[in-house]
Structures are given as C-alpha cells and as structure tokens.
C-alpha cells in the first residue's frame, strides 16, 4: 500500500514537472530537439549573436560579416552603387515607350513635383482589376492618414495633423506623375514611401487616387 502511495506521488511530481514545460511569457517551453528550432543556416530573424545562450552549436552569427565595423550582422547591404532594376521590369505595360517614361522618376530630383507631373505618365494601363488592386494598396498604405475616401480624415491622420484632403481643390487636378512623385518622396509633412511600395504598386495607387478625386471611390 505504501509503495503504491509513493508511486502515485512520484507520478504526480512527474506530471507537475511536465506541466512546467509549457511556454509562457519569455519562456519558449521545452524544446525537444533544439537543432530543429535554431537554424544554423542564416534565416531571417533567427540570428543568435550570443554564443553562450544556446551553446556553441546554435550560434549562427558570422563574425567575419562586418558592416561599418560592427560584427554580428548577417544581412549585408548591396554593394555601393547597386541599382535595383527588378522594380522597373515588373511594369505591366509592354510598350517600351511607356516603360522608359516610368523610369524617368529615377532621375528626378526629390523636389521636382511639377516636372514629375509634366513628364511622367502612368505606364500601368487602367482596368477594373488594376483599380481594385490600387484600392487595396490605398487602403493599406494611404488610408490610415488620408482616410477611406481621401478626405484626410484617417485615424492616424487625426494624430499626425496636416494631412491633405486628396479631394480638395488643391489636389483634385494634379497630374498622375505628380501624385506618383509625392508617394515616392513625400511632400510637406508627408514622408516618402518608396522603400515600402514598389513603383508598379505606386502607379496602381495613382489610378485609385484619381478615381477617388473624381468622387467615384
């Protein structure tokens, strides 16, 4: 009888121990096979820079990869002077003329809004699908400040202040190239979004913004 009680107590303790394996807060929980979780290969967001935390085995930081004198950076910036051409090849229209025009902005100065408006034309032909895509992109990237209908009444815009009412008289008749240039580089209080939105996506947004400005959004 005693041994049985002992046995059950041991089982209970074992169960409690197992229960404590559960992940919570900063604790990931017990990792049964840690080498499955910690990639030795360079995976995004998986860098382990401390060689003592998980043991030498999972330390996957490259000490030889130095960036501006700092160690432990696996992702390297492209070589100086690299031009990311792939952005421009994805332009939907196949006509060479339109594509070349779409490239122009690359040469344009940040402040050349009027020039951008004059020489840039939208290389992405408008279709229902494109405008729909533009709408989705607009709702993701522009709506927080400019609001669903472009009235400058977004929830973030209320905090940011000074957000343009895209349907206002000052903006209503702006050429597409101008809008494209503003999305790319920002204007006034707005900062540019060229790092987040590809040129093709920007042109699609321009289509939708134009639609909003005609009150058809």
């Amino acid at each position: 009888m005693l041994s049985r009680i002992h046995l059950s107590i041991i089982v209970a303790i074992f169960a409690c121990l197992l229960y404590s394996c559960e992940p919570k807060g900063n604790y990931t929980g017990t990792e049964y096979a840690p080498n499955m979780y910690h990639s030795v290969a360079y995976d995004p967001y998986s860098q382990i820079i401390d060689s003592t935390t998980y043991g030498r085995e999972y330390y996957n930081s490259n000490p030889y990869n130095q960036y501006k004198g700092k160690k432990h950076i696996n992702m390297m910036p492209p070589v100086e002077g690299t031009v990311p051409r792939q952005n421009y090849r994805s332009v939907a229209d196949s006509s060479k003329d339109a594509r070349d025009k779409a490239l122009y902005f690359y040469e344009l100065h940040v402040d050349s809004f009027a020039l951008a408006g004059r020489i840039l034309t939208n290389p992405v032909p408008a279709s229902d699908g494109v405008v729909e895509e533009g709408k989705n992109l607009y709702l993701t990237y522009c709506q927080p400040c400019h609001g669903e209908k472009g009235l400058g009444d977004g929830k973030v815009g209320a905090m940011y202040k000074g957000v343009a009412n895209l349907t206002g008289a000052a903006y209503k008749n702006l050429p597409e190239g101008h809008i494209f240039h503003v999305i790319s580089h920002g204007k006034g209080r707005m900062w540019g979004l060229k790092t987040t939105i590809t040129p093709e996506e920007r042109w699609k947004i321009v289509h939708y913004v134009k639609k909003l400005q005609k009150g058809e959004g």
Binding site: S8, G29, M36, Y45, P144, K155, V156, Y160, N165
Partner: protein, 428 residues
C-alpha cells in the same frame, strides 16, 4: 390677434430684406476690393470686407473644411497658427495674398510673414486655386467662428465610451444570472433538507411502521465507513490517476509546441494601439508579406513615417533613434518559430490563398504583447489543408487543376486535392 401676427410677419420680412441688401452691398465691397489686392499699400479696416451673409459663411465653412481644416483650427494651433481674429491681425488683401502665395510672400521679405515662418518652420502650400471671394468667404466664416463658435458636437466624445458600456453591462448581467442561480440552488437545497427532516420526524411518530421501515428510518450515515470503503477509495484513486494521466499526456504532447509564448520585446511595441485603436493595416508595416516567404519586421524607416510627427519624444522612441544613429538593427525577439525542416511561405498563403492574418496569428488587434496563438504543429497545418477550399477564383494557374478535379469529384477543390498533404510540399 391676427392683425398683430400679420404685422409681425411683415416687419420680419422687412428686416430680412434690409439684412440681405446689406449683405449684397458688402459682397460688392469685397469684389471691388479684389481688384486692388495686389496693391499692398491698401490698409483696409480691420474686419472690413468680411461678410456676415449666411450663404457666404456656409460657403466659407465648406471651403475651410475642404482646404484648410487639415492644418488650421480657429481656436487651436494645429500645424499652422490658430485663425481666431486673424482678420484683425492682418488686413484682408495681405491675407489673400499670403494664402495664395505663402512662400513667395515669405521670400519677398515681408516682416510678419518671415516671423510666422520662423515660428512654424514650414511653408504653407500655395492656394492660388482659390478665388479672392472664396478666401473672403473662408475668412468670413473664421470671423463668425471667432465671434460665436459653434458648440462642439457631443457624439464624437461620447462615441468611444458607448461600445464599452454594453459589454460591461453584459458581463454584469452574466454574473448576476450566475449569482441568482446559485442562491436559487441553495434555497432549493435548504427547502429539501427541511422537508426531509420534517418527514422523518413525522414518520418517527407514526406507529404503524414495519420493523424494516423503522430500521431505514433510524439509519445513521457513517462517514468513516464510507471514506474507507473500497468503492470510495476506488473512485478517488481512479479520478486521481485519470487527472495525472491527462496532465502528463497533455504536457508530453505540447513539448516543443510554443503556443502561448509571449516574449518581451526590446521596444514594447503595442499592436493593440497601432493595429487595434488606429486600425493600421498589418501590411503597412509587414509589407513584404505578399511578396516574400517572410512577413518582414519593419525597420525604423516604417516607424518614422508616422513618428516624425506623432509622439516624437518618449523613452521608447529614443530606442528607435538610437538604432538609427548607431546604424544597428533592433533585435526583436522572434515569436513564431517554425522548425527549419518545414517550409512555409507567407506570400503563398496571404496573396494567393487570400487568408487573413488573424487565421494563424489570432486577434493581434487585442494584444499588448504578441503571443503565439496557433499550435504551428504539422497536425494543425494538415487540418487546415483538409478543410480549406483552394482560392482559385481569377487565378489562371488553377484552371486546369479545377477542370481535372471537377471531372472526378463533385466536392469543392480543397488544398489536399492538389497535393496539400504531400510530404515534399513542405519538407524538402
């Protein structure tokens, strides 16, 4: 009686006529003034030329809301100065000229304009598309607002409070129901116990009872015997063993499953605030989710799009500035970690399948600290692949597959039907 009413109406009409004539006269005055706007020597009266015609003011309000409201308020500094009594500070032609060409005015060396620029440190955009009488209409509205401001509407302030109240009263209602049920139960038990004791007392007085019945009546509950009886010990030990086994198996099964993992991050970024309260789309920050295997963790370049103007000083913002200044990545702690042996592609699931982020990541909008909500086990993946229909609409890639599938089955095409359960789909 009727006579007095007619006289009242007549006098009202007369007054209306007078007022409208006056307004027209004023309108004329402004249009005459327009011709001389470029003449900067004109120093018209402080509020001269402004109209108090209701139509003009309404037009001014509309124009103000469309073109000025973003940066100006009447009684508060927004981006630019508060506009109350602006028509007293400067004369109308100066204002018209400044509103049309602010930068030019500042660069021309106008002392007041330069002082404004120094104070606010930014140019107001040109508003040369506005006609002179439109600017006058806006200023008339500003004057009207300065003199007797429209009372702020109450609904916007009440709005955030209202959605909370129903939920609160709901939970209160639930608690109330539970308490009521519990008290009812206690009352019923008490009544039953009383009934029992009354009945036994009544039966004890009864003399026509058989021996057997009397034995039952005088039976005493022996707790000690019950506690040591085989049956009781058996039940207790069964329950104990079952509980222990349940806990043990559950724990064993969840080893290596990080559901519930919610690590502290180097910067306590709140998804509840950004995605919840401000309704910023997930893709605004995790913008590679539709193009890449990974949903990128945004760098400071995304934070700064808004934080160049919103909450620019805080200890947490300093951490971002520090990262930018030192050119160092922010070492966010990875929450969802799929083992290296399984391939998962965000673009495939979000862009092609059109799945919502919350399908796997849970209600991020409510999370102050992000935690792993899903199991991320193979069973979990497979389960979804069995249930989910392929999002083939408008995607030419699936045309042939759909055709083949419809030949042999009348069921909708699920992910498992196009090889969603193949080992090599995810393990290679």
């Amino acid at each position: 009686m009727s006579k007095s009413i007619t006289t009242r109406i007549l006098s009202f009409l007369f007054a209306f006529l007078l007022v409208s004539m006056f307004a027209f006269a004023q309108d004329d005055g402004t249009t005459q003034g327009n011709g001389t706007t470029d003449n900067t020597t004109q120093t018209g009266g402080a509020a001269g030329g402004l109209s108090d015609n209701a139509d003009v003011i309404a037009k001014g309000e509309e124009l103000f809301n469309g073109n000025c409201k973003q940066c100006h308020a009447v009684n508060a500094k927004v981006v630019g100065p508060a506009l109350a009594k602006v028509y007293e500070r400067r004369n109308i032609p100066w204002l018209i000229n400044f509103i049309k060409y602010p930068q030019k005015t500042i660069e021309s060396g106008d002392a007041y304009a330069v002082a404004l620029y120094k104070q606010y440190n930014q140019f107001m955009p040109n508003h040369d598309f506005l006609k002179d009488d439109e600017i006058v209409a806006i200023l008339s509205w500003v004057k009207k607002e300065t003199d007797n401001p429209t009372v702020a509407k109450t609904p916007p302030t009440g709005e955030p409070g209202t959605p909370q109240n129903p939920t609160e009263s709901n939970s209160g209602l639930l608690v109330g129901i539970v308490v009521a049920l519990a008290t009812l139960l206690v009352v019923v038990l008490a009544v039953l116990a009383m009934l029992g004791s009354v009945l036994t007392k009544y039966l004890a007085k009864e003399k026509a009872l058989s021996e057997a019945d009397r034995a039952i009546l005088e039976q005493k509950v022996e707790w000690g015997k019950i506690l040591t009886s085989r049956g009781f010990v058996g039940i207790v030990s069964f329950v104990f063993v079952a509980l222990v086994l349940k806990v043990a198996t559950e724990a064993l099964v969840t080893i290596g499953v990080q559901q519930g993992y919610a690590p502290d991050q180097p910067i306590p970024f709140s998804h509840k605030l950004h995605a919840g309260q401000y309704e910023i789309d997930c893709k605004y920050c995790h913008h590679t989710v539709e193009k890449s295997k990974h949903a990128s963790i945004p760098g400071p370049y995304v934070c700064m799009n808004c934080h160049n103007a919103i909450k620019t000083t805080s200890p947490n913002m300093d951490l971002i500035y520090k990262a930018v200044e030192n050119d160092e990545p922010i070492q966010w702690v990875r929450v969802h970690n799929l083992p290296d042996l399984a391939y998962f592609n965000h673009a495939q699931h979000v862009k092609v399948a059109g799945l919502d982020c919350t399908n796997c990541h849970g209600n991020i909008k409510e999370m102050e600290v992000v935690q792993q909500v899903s199991l991320l086990t193979m069973g979990w993946c497979i389960d979804c692949h069995r249930k989910t229909e392929v999002n083939a609409k408008g995607n030419g890639y699936y045309d042939n597959l759909l055709e083949m599938h419809s030949k042999y089955s009348k069921q909708p095409m699920k992910v498992e039907n196009i090889g969603g359960l193949e080992c090599s789909k995810c393990h290679y």
